[in-house]
């Protein structure tokens, strides 16, 4: 059953060939069998999943089922889930049972999607490898020595190994697209503001964006349809009509102008990854697209400006975890300052502490202009580069990451090297644009993704391009041998 597409599962559920309880139990059994070696789930909720599956079967029997009704989902542990632990993979929130659902969770509950559990991630979504979790690193199903990418590494791993048909993720600097690329699945970061951030534990508010992680672009379109939409509880939610993200699936790519930035193929990109990406773009060209050269001259300034701005926002957002209002509390504090400092020091892991310190420093008197203000100006320059590029093309294509998944522990002690693994995804977050990663091949049995970036609100176009590519390739159908 785990090899079916979402549409095929839906057809079988609606025809009564399978029940949601059977489908959900199938995934729970696979989780029991395989998750111990992957460490991709931090919480599994079998009783909740089966109870929700029964409700979904009732909806289907009553003829009230929608396309996703009865299909189980896994939520990244950054989404609040009513009555279920929401830890953000941090000791700080190890005992936090959310008393409400995130907007996205509510949306997916409404259509009757049973919750299998919560997936592992980099602590507070800060990372590119899913190694910084308080609950230990997640492993890449394609190679257990490799990281699955981050921060939505658990979500990517559960889909790649067939431990969930779809999962929610969040993307602040590439955290949906980079793990999607490393694990050979499909992930889309929608336009900033398209999906409500209500109930998502905040990391960097002007960057954080939720999105779907699935096997195929078509599945992602169906899932995004259920996730997206205006929510007045999120002040950054876009007040506009929610489009049908599946509306363009099936359209020809004839005449599509694909911009390929020269700057994407300079030093730093693994030559083998480059070959896979170039071949994928050639495949898109065969489908009728026209390739044009574009330029993103400020690409290399995106990483330093992101690592000023995101930690600055994080230092503010994470100030609520002080041992009083939220989070872990130290024993026997001697005074208020001791309570704050020891609670935070005991509760946060090394990378989170580092980013809070960097952010606090960047915002401090004397450094604000040199770091924070400068980074905000560079953010506009990076955005303007994209705006100019889209004057001569419909979408931009290139690599998602400079390499395939790296080995566990390989970059743990070199933060700057880890940060640079997001150099192709971060500019998209600075600009707030939508970006899609689709599986495009392998290097030494480790997956490589093709990155497709479009102008604001072009998600339906991106998903159709991914879908058309997946009609003529089968990279997205491949699964690691031991999980087939």
């Amino acid at each position: 059953m785990h090899n079916l597409t979402i549409k095929q599962m839906s057809e079988k559920l609606h025809a009564g060939e399978i029940t949601s309880v059977q489908l959900t139990q199938h995934y729970l059994d696979r989780i029991s069998q395989y998750d111990a070696e992957l460490n991709a789930y931090v919480t599994v909720t079998p009783e909740l999943a089966i109870a929700m599956a029964k409700e979904a079967d009732e909806m289907l029997a009553a003829g009230k089922g929608e396309l996703l009704t009865g299909i189980p989902v896994a939520h990244k542990d950054i989404f609040c889930t009513d009555g279920v632990k929401t830890s953000c993979s941090s000791k700080m929130l190890d005992n936090f049972i959310a008393p409400y659902d995130a907007h996205v969770v509510t949306q997916l509950k409404k259509v009757g999607m049973p919750i299998l559990g919560k997936t592992n991630m980099d602590e507070f979504a800060m990372g590119s490898s899913s190694e910084s979790s308080y609950y230990g690193p997640t492993k890449n199903p394609w190679d257990l020595n490799a990281v699955p990418g981050g921060s939505s590494g658990g979500a990517a791993a559960v889909i790649a190994a067939g431990l969930a048909p779809m999962a929610t993720g969040t993307d602040t600097g590439g955290s949906i697209r980079q793990p999607a690329s490393f694990c050979g699945i499909t992930g889309i970061k929608p336009t900033y503001g398209s999906v409500s951030r209500f109930g998502i534990v905040a990391y960097a508010s002007s960057f954080d964006q939720a999105g779907p992680m699935t096997r195929s672009a078509e599945d992602a379109a169906w899932m995004l349809n259920a996730m997206a939409g205006f929510d007045e509880r999120d002040s950054t939610s876009l007040e506009r009509e929610t489009p049908d993200y599946a509306a363009e699936l099936g359209q020809s790519l004839k005449g599509l102008k694909v911009g390929v930035p020269a700057e994407y193929f300079e030093d730093g990109l693994d030559p083998d990854v480059e070959i896979v990406v170039v071949n994928a773009i050639a495949e898109i060209e065969k489908l009728g697209a026209e390739i044009v050269e574009v330029h993103l001259p400020n690409k290399d300034l995106a990483v330093p400006s992101y690592y000023v701005l995101a930690p600055a926002e994080a230092s503010s957002n994470l100030s609520r975890f002080d041992g009083v209002r939220f989070g872990h509390r130290c024993e026997n504090p001697k005074d208020l300052e001791d309570l704050y400092k020891r609670s935070r020091s005991e509760g946060f892991g090394a990378e989170v502490k580092r980013r809070i310190m960097v952010g606090a420093y960047a915002l401090s008197a004397g450094f604000y202009d040199a770091y924070y203000l400068k980074a905000q100006k560079l953010r506009r320059m990076v955005r303007d580069d994209f705006t100019k590029a889209f004057e001569s093309c419909d979408v931009i294509m290139g690599p998602v990451a400079p390499s395939t998944a790296f080995n566990i522990g390989e970059k743990s002690d070199d933060q700057v090297s880890m940060y640079l693994s997001d150099l192709y995804t971060i500019p998209v977050n600075l600009a707030g644009l939508p970006g899609l990663s689709v599986p495009a091949g392998f290097v030494n049995n480790r997956p490589v993704g093709l990155h497709i970036v479009g102008p604001y609100f072009s998600e339906a176009k991106l998903l159709n391009i991914g879908h058309q590519y997946q009609q003529v390739t089968d990279w997205h159908k491949q699964m690691p041998e031991q999980y087939q």
Partner: protein
Amino acid sequence: MSLGKTEVEYISRLAAIEVNESEVDEVAAKLSNILDLFSQMQAADTDGVLPMAHPLDQVQRLRPDVVTEVDQHEKLQSVAPAVENGLYLVPQVIE
């Protein structure tokens, strides 16, 4: 830019994060590496560029100043570590 013990102590205070004596050198080295990455920004000419705080250049949306929240204190306090008479109990830090 190379940070020393004084700067680490200053940042630790700003961030309300304790850095033990034994950790100072390592923290200083790692933060210095990150600040070196930031120094790349200084070469870029940003004169006349408007800072960008929101990716879509949107202004903050406001709502009418009316009460919309319903009282959920019982539900919210059900997950708190300690409550008494409808109030949250926090550790005493003032004698």
